[in-house]
Each structure stands twice: as structure tokens, then as C-alpha cells.
Amino acid sequence: MSYSDQTRLSYQRTLQDIEEKGLYKNERIICDRQGAEVKVEFPVGSEQKQLINMCSNNYLGLSSHPDVIKAAHEALDHRGYGLSSVRFICGTQDIHKELEARLSTFLGTEDTILFSSCFDANAAVFETLLDENDIMISDRLVHASIIDGMRLAKAQHDTYKHSDMKHLRKKLEMYQDRPRKIIITDGVFSMDGDIAKLDEIVQLAEEFDAMVFVDDSHATGFMGKNGRGIHELCGVWGKIDVITTTFGKALGGASGGCVSGHKELIDLLRQRGRPYLFSNTLAPTITMATMKVIDILEASTERRDKLESNMIWWRKALSDAGFIIVEGDSPIVPIMFYDAKLAQAFSNDLYQEGVFAVGFFFPVVAQGQARIRTQLSAAHDMEHLERAIAAFVKIGKKYNILGKSKEELLQINQ
């Protein structure tokens, strides 16, 4: 081993630089199961605090659902803890094939392939399915995993302004001679909570003979009348060529993801997708628990309905109180502060008042767009939301920001 003082110092300097820029992330320790309320220790070593959780991706409240946990236990008993293999050697069990078939039905596609995470799924898609003559045209606000996935591909890459269909058309016109074109978008954009105009995107794709890729991680399980995702919501069921999604958010929240779409594409990913070929199979616990989640969602829309009514109530309560929120129809509800210091101070005060919600600022979001992102869950009862809004209003009064415009908010820390 050689880890010289000079090498150590170089890493220490990098960390110091991150800290000086105010970008160092301290993890909050949850000493509990995931849920509407959690016990949190922050900073490490301090007393644990019971908080209303307004920042998890546990949209359907299934992360600690007893039936899901039971299914994971059954998987341990009947299919073991691990497979110690990638899929194509000795890592494919009957339950993996069963889950792939269930997901294809749930998402309305021809076939599905499982990955260790949606990050891995996005890392596999573009490199495997496109070559140097092809073009990837992506929305500018797609998730980091898509950006990294596109970087691995040989195909050329261009972007269009966020959800700007005129601009997308212009780009499709520019590249219409390319053999294969693919339009790439998130279903729900995670920082603003807004929804892709998938109906218009599909229309453009048909006009220009382009494929459509959607990462529906913040939508699968709850967006659309039956919770199938943005393609259901936008009325383009069966018209999306590639859907990637995660099991790490609404669908139980452990980990794992998939690519779902035309059977040739899925088969090619099985043959050549590097994150699939060279990383372990999905654990049996996650595989069986995800199937249980699908059972729950196919039996009833009760959870996505509750999430929707929570979302409508929360959006109205914040607007009525005088906060500026990013309008939308998803359970991601960002509250705009614009100023990073104000967002940070507000988030710290929320913690003291028993509400867990985190501030986001540059470079995670654009300069001058600091916000606190709140996320609703079907696990929230009205009592949680009423307590949370009371805390928001109390702190809003303290900083005198209720009913203030963007310009007025920006003056506060001047």
C-alpha cells in the first residue's frame, strides 16, 4: 500500500474545497423504519428527534408495509439471501422471470429486464441501443443517471430547452437524416415536480420517426388513474419505446430498477448491456417484495388516490398560506425561496419544529432558484399535513415571507 502524505493531502484539499463552497453533505441518521414519521439523529451524536417526513420518495407508503416485508421474509425462506452470480451464469431464478413478466403487464410493454438500480438501467440503455450514426435528443433537466448514461454512448447528443416542444421540433428537423433518433425525457422532473408533455413528444416522435425514452422513476405506481405512469396519464399507453423505472421509490423503496419496452431492445440489453452483464442479479427479497407491491397496486388504487388527495390539499394549503410553489400535478412540491441562505435557514427551523424537509440550491438547481422540496406520501394522514403546514406558517411569519413576491424574497438577505 502506498498512500503518501501528499496523496492524502490532495484528497483533504478537495474535501476542504467542497466544504468551503458550502456543498458538503452531512447525512441525517434515521433510527427507525421509513414512514410518515421518523426518528432522526442530526448532527451525529445529538438527541434523536421525531419528525414528520416530507422528503422521502416513499410516495405510496409501501416502504414498511407489513405485506411487503412479509413477502421479503418469504423470499429469504424459499429463494435464499443471494445468488452470488450475474443473471446469465446462475443468477436467474423463476421469480426474476415472473417479476419481468409482471412489470411488462403493469407498464403495458412487450418485455422487461431487471437491473440492480435504475441508475444502472440508464447506464445500459444508450450505449447498447445506439451507435455513432444515431442521435440522442434530451430534455435539459433529465436526471443525472441519464446524463451519465448518454456520456457512455457513441451516439451524438443534443438537448432541447426544458419541455419546449418548439425547440424539440427544431432539433428533430436538424437531425432528421439520422438513421435512429431518440427523444429522452424524465416522466416527472425531480427538482420541479413538473410532468413531461408526453402526448406532444409522442406526436413529434411519430412525425419524425424517432423513438421515445422515458425515465418514470418519480411516477411509476401512482401517476395516471391506475398508477401506471406518465404514459397512462398523458394518454400514450403502449406508445413509449423505452421506459426505465426504479423499485427504490414508490414500489417499496429498497433498490433495483428495470428497462421495459420492445422485445428486441430488451433482448439486446440482455446480450450487451454492461451493467446487466457485469453486476449481480437482483436479490430475491427485492424481487418478491416488488411483486407483492404490484399485487397491492393491481388490487386497488386506494393508495395512489390518497396520495393524490394529499397532494391537492398540500399544494392548496401552501398557496393559501402565501408561499410560492412550483405549480404542478405531482407529489413533488417545491417551495421557492430563491435565496440559498433563506432556504437553508428555513429548513433548519423546520427541523426544530419537527418537520423533515431539505433545502436545494446551486449547483443542484440553477443559480437563484433555491427551494425546499417537499414530497407527499400516502403514508401521510391529515394530522401530519396539518402539523407540517402549521410549522411552515410559523416559520414563514418569523421570516416575514408569507405573501411576498420573488423580488421581495430576494431582498430579505440583502
Binding site: 435539459r140 451524438q156 443534443d158 438537448t159 430547452k161 449547483p363 440553477a366 437563484g368
Partner: protein, 76 residues
């Protein structure tokens, strides 16, 4: 080249088209353009000037101003 780049940046990236941009305006470090959008600038340079700049040469540091961009483009 300078005018064409400035015009493209204005149309492609800015919400307020009246924003003044000179060859020395800091575009990425100021947050005006996010570094991910540089791929569109790379595509434009190839299309407009016929120069394919390799991705590693297009960084937040080397493409922060129009002046810097021109210096890099001239090397190809």
C-alpha cells in the same frame, strides 16, 4: 465566429433574450448556462464550423466565455 456563437447562446440558453453577452461574459461559472448544455454547443460548433471538438476539451473551465471557446475551436 464570435457573433454566431453569441447569437446561438442567446437563442439556445437564455430565457431573457435581451441579456447582454460579450466575449468575456462568464457563462457557466455564473450559472447562466449549466455544464450539461455544453453538448448542444458542441453540436452547434460541428454543424456551423465543421469542427468536431472532443468532449474532454469542452469543460466548464475551457468553455466559460466565448473568447475561451474561440481559442479552443481554433486548435482544431
Amino acid at each position: 465566429m464570435k457573433e454566431k456563437l453569441i447569437e446561438f447562446i442567446r437563442d439556445e440558453f437564455l430565457d431573457e433574450p435581451d441579456t447582454e453577452i460579450t466575449e468575456n461574459t462568464k457563462l457557466i461559472s455564473s450559472g447562466m448556462i449549466d455544464s450539461f448544455s455544453l453538448v448542444s454547443l458542441q453540436a452547434f460548433i460541428q454543424q456551423e464550423f465543421g469542427k468536431r471538438i472532443p468532449a474532454p476539451r469542452i469543460t466548464a473551465e475551457s468553455f466559460d466565455t466565448v473568447k475561451q471557446m474561440i481559442e479552443v475551436i481554433k486548435q482544431f
